[in-house]
Symmetry: C2
Subunit: 218 residues, 2 copies
Amino acid sequence: MIFTLRRLPGSDDVRVALPLVRRTRDPHEGQWALPGGWLDVSESLVAAASRTLSETTGLAPSYLEQLYAFGAVDRSPTRVVSIVYWALLRADDVSTELDSADQRENVQWFDAATLPRLAFDHNEIVDYALWRLRNKVGYSRIAHGLLADEFTLAELREVYEAILGRRLDPANFRRQVENSGTLIPTDRFRTGSHRPARLYRYNQDVELADRGPLGDRD
Amino acid sequence: MIFTLRRLPGSDDVRVALPLVRRTRDPHEGQWALPGGWLDVSESLVAAASRTLSETTGLAPSYLEQLYAFGAVDRSPTRVVSIVYWALLRADDVSTELDSADQRENVQWFDAATLPRLAFDHNEIVDYALWRLRNKVGYSRIAHGLLADEFTLAELREVYEAILGRRLDPANFRRQVENSGTLIPTDRFRTGSHRPARLYRYNQDVELADRGPLGDRD
């Protein structure tokens, strides 16, 4: 599962979006589903997740994290345990890779808040991932995965607003992140149609809830 | 994997402890390992975890949570993916169930901080679980799983100290938990050899990082 943020056309609203694949065979032929595939005997879980993602969507995120293993007996006509991985992609990575993904038939990006009925238990899986995302944004630097290395406070707030699904007060938000010690102000500014806004980056020295001793293992 | 807290004999120290099973066949015959077993085609993941736990240790925790799926290619002579569940047991639950568990040959409780070299990658799995436990204690009511329904602030602090592996200042700790809004003082007191200490319970109305929309599914 890949999440990114997309600005709705003709709007200031930024939303969480994800790519889905239209199933070309039964069960659930014609329905949209999360990209996935089988584990080869000689590949690790994360390697299989990367491979099937790249084969089905053309996307290759630099970092996938294990989300959850779904194994209810009735989730598929035959017994299938799905070990789901997820990634956050920065909007600029997506836009460069989107051309190739969009060229693939049967792959399409959806607004996570207004999904159709998906194949299997995939709506439940997306709901669980969105819940984890909302929780996680509070205690880790997960928002970083959706931003460029340097960003303005307004851009960071937009990420939080998209994930939490509600507006945040700009002054309160600024105070909270400035007090958290997780951001480092740079000497650079974003200029454009608005007045210049200072760029920040994440302080990598602050220990937050990351993957811990697992590192790159799976 | 089951964690509980145990007071070291002849000491005031409380430590995180877990039950291990001595392997009676190859690979790794004679080494200690986490309890586990195979998934039947007609049982859910959590049902299989409960069943194998009960068969091997005699313990039946009321609540198991999925920890992580371990699937490195070389973690076993044949390809094995282990979907690990964990539970926290209150010390009083353990002491009643311990007799039956201790009667089983080849089952023994270990101090999590001083484990021997375990079979397979089970040391890594325990290390990962301990890391998750340390992280989680900060942002959820996970400590609750190790306590009776009502507890003193000193008992709660002991849980945090055991998980974090360091002493906490009693006055600071009291201030932090009182400010958190997660505890409700009762009208009851623990009496005994010390001066009476007020009993608290967790405020179930505070929404913290629990399992979310998954509920009891797996």
